[in-house]
């Protein structure tokens, strides 16, 4: 199987504070990987390093087989950042405009063609927000906004979806539906990296888990993760309950 992302001996520090230490792992095509760890364990930092948003102090990364500095097929990655539901809260922009952004990396400076618009329509259809297409994004619920961002990733025809706590601020029902949708996309062959606080919901859906707290504690399939001690080790032995940093 082909590796989508490989991380080799990567370390990263914010000034003196080491966030990531000596982590190596590889994500294969078709994986649905859950990235977990306590607050401040470096999950987001690791994801940023994998996507090229941050440069590691040590170690190397490849994306789709290319060294990260040479990788330029940006349209192959669909990224939904942390707190993305806040975006568009003041900026007037419609659902269709946001989803259409997924085509921008494809067309460059040329105008969008009919086929681009068709792909956008399909993406809206897939996440079932066609009827909201011309609404301003700040008029949507958290769940609807989240689906808009997924539709943007679909419109870019991404092979890799990277989602950083995508369901913060989304109600339980929409969240369940959202994960069902991710399962479907993964079955269609899209590789997914997911950061999620709720370990119960995460382990129900992902097929692999990387558990980190500065260092990598576990990387393997979900069953072996649940049987291992990685969770209590990473969260510290005293932690029977997993902390949530938001109400």
């Amino acid at each position: 199987m082909k590796s989508v992302v490989t991380v080799e001996d990567v370390s990263f520090a914010y000034g003196e504070k080491v966030a990531i230490e000596d982590i190596s792992l590889s994500i294969e095509a078709g994986d649905f990987l859950g990235l977990i760890g306590p607050n401040g364990s470096g999950k987001t930092t690791l994801l940023h390093i994998m996507l090229g948003l941050k440069r590691p102090d040590f170690g190397s990364i490849t994306l789709f087989g290319e060294p990260i500095d040479e990788f330029d097929d940006g349209e192959r990655i669909g990224y939904v950042s942390q707190r993305s539901t806040d975006r568009g809260s003041t900026m007037p922009v419609t659902v269709r405009e946001v989803v259409t952004m997924g085509r921008f990396a494809h067309v460059g400076r040329s105008p969008l063609g009919t086929d681009d618009h068709e792909i956008v329509d399909e993406a809206l259809e897939t996440v079932e927000i066609t009827d909201l297409a011309d609404r301003r994004i700040n008029q949507l619920s958290g769940g609807q906004r989240q689906r808009t961002f997924i539709a943007r990733a679909l419109a870019s025809e991404a092979d890799l979806l990277a989602l950083d706590e995508p369901t913060v601020g989304v109600d339980a029902e929409s969240r369940e539906r959202f994960y069902g949708m991710l399962d479907d996309l993964n079955r269609e062959g899209i590789t997914i990296i997911l950061i999620e606080h709720d370990i119960d919901i995460l382990t129900k859906h992902v097929d692999k888990v990387a558990c980190i707290n500065r260092e990598l504690y576990h990387h393997g399939d979900t069953v072996s993760f649940l049987e291992s001690e990685a969770l209590s080790e990473a969260y510290g032995a005293a932690h029977g309950v997993i902390e949530h940093d938001h109400p």
Binding site: L53, G74, M91, T94, E97, A105, R109, L112
Partner: protein, 371 residues
């Protein structure tokens, strides 16, 4: 415009082409067609004003270019038409070339300032405009000294343009490298460049005869718009409109979600520099009419007004330009009629539009709240 919604269904070819060209902005309602009509009128006005400036410019074309006398003839006819306008309107405005230069500059600024401002405001960079205006003021001071010391005959604004563009790049450099809140470097550059400007002007007064209307640059004046100033605005307007049209998609993506744009491998830093340099350029042009102190208003108020009522980003862009243009035309008319400075008049009218948009939209709450 004869195109309306009923026509749109019947006429296949040209309407289909037009909608394809408009991208995903598919006018469906009367309101969208009205906006598009307004934009078309603004574009025609803009092109006409560029035509006037060009004619004014070509009058002094070198002899080998042959065109000079013809341009002179046409320009004369234009002024005659202006005299007729004055005659029928009972005004004393349109027969004066300097008035036309000021009006043309105002019209073009009314297009490009809200155009660039739409991206600035939604990137939360509104204060950058104000800062670059102060940098431009330092640029004017440098230009004055440079001209006084070297006897250079070029335009003062050209020097201001260069200083302001350098200031823009410097500001970005400083923001990237200082370890503090984002608005601290802005505050430092804002007051710092004004300080340098005042020092240079006071220092220059001692040994040169500075025959320049500093108050004109501070508060804006129709009288300081020179032929070169108008030409500079014409050129920069064409360049800015072309750049925004060419990079509309990228600028929108970065404005909305900079991190995702980086992941999509857009050259975010390069577009940031483009936006900030375009701002510097627009600010120098607008400074003549609006003045250093009020120039940011033209970048911000029309956009704030449009964002209050617009349904999409593209509509925001269109409405910002329309509000900007109406404010400029209304402000100039008021300023000329009442013999008051144009800057203040334009800004007060723009604020009138802003208040009106809040009253009309009834969504002031949702626009400000974060959820």
């Amino acid at each position: 415009m004869s195109l309306d919604t009923t026509n749109a269904d019947r006429v296949g070819g040209p309407v289909a082409n037009l909608t394809a060209w408009l991208g995903w902005f598919r006018p469906q309602r009367r309101r969208e067609w009205v906006e598009l009509g307004g934009i078309a009128l603004t574009a025609i006005l803009g092109v006409a004003m560029i035509g006037f400036i060009l004619l004014d410019w070509l009058r002094f074309a070198p002899e080998w270019a042959v065109i000079g006398p013809y341009a002179d003839l046409l320009f004369g006819q234009f002024i005659v038409a202006g005299m007729w306008m004055d005659h029928y309107l009972g005004t004393n405005v349109f027969s004066h070339p300097f008035m036309w230069r000021a009006i043309a500059t105002g019209v073009l600024i009314g297009i490009v300032a809200p155009l660039v401002g739409t991206y600035l405001v939604h990137r939360q960079m509104a204060l950058i405009g104000e800062t670059l205006a102060h940098t431009a003021f330092a640029g004017v001071a440098v230009g004055l000294l440079f001209i006084a010391l070297t006897g250079w005959t070029g335009s003062l604004l050209f020097v201001a343009l260069i200083v302001s563009a350098l200031g823009a790049v410097g500001l970005q450099w400083l923001t990237d490298r200082t370890n503090t809140y984002g608005d601290v470097p802005i505050a430092i550059v804002l007051s710092g460049s004004f300080a340098v400007g005042t020092l240079l002007i006071s220092w220059g007064r001692d040994f040169t005869s500075l025959a320049i209307d500093i108050e004109g640059f501070l508060f804006g004046s129709l009288a300081i718009v020179t032929a070169e100033g108008a030409q500079l605005v014409a050129v920069l307007s064409v360049v800015v409109v072309a750049l925004v049209a060419l990079n509309y998609k990228q600028l929108l993506f970065i404005t909305f979600d900079e991190q995702a744009a980086r992941v999509a491998r857009l050259e975010v830093d390069r577009y940031n520099t483009l936006l900030i340099v375009m701002t510097a350029v627009v600010v120098v042009g607008a400074m003549q009419i609006l003045g250093v102190i009020l120039v940011a208003a033209m970048l911000v108020i029309p956009v704030a007004t449009a964002s209050q009522v617009a349904e999409s980003f593209r509509e925001t862009l269109y409405l910002s330009i329309l509000v900007g243009q109406l404010s400029v035309l209304g402000g100039l008319a008021f300023a000329i009629g009442a013999s008051l400075p144009p800057g203040g008049s334009i800004v007060v009218i723009a604020i009138g539009f802003y208040l009106l948009s809040i009253a009309l939209s009834g969504r002031s709450g949702t626009s400000i709240s974060m959820h």
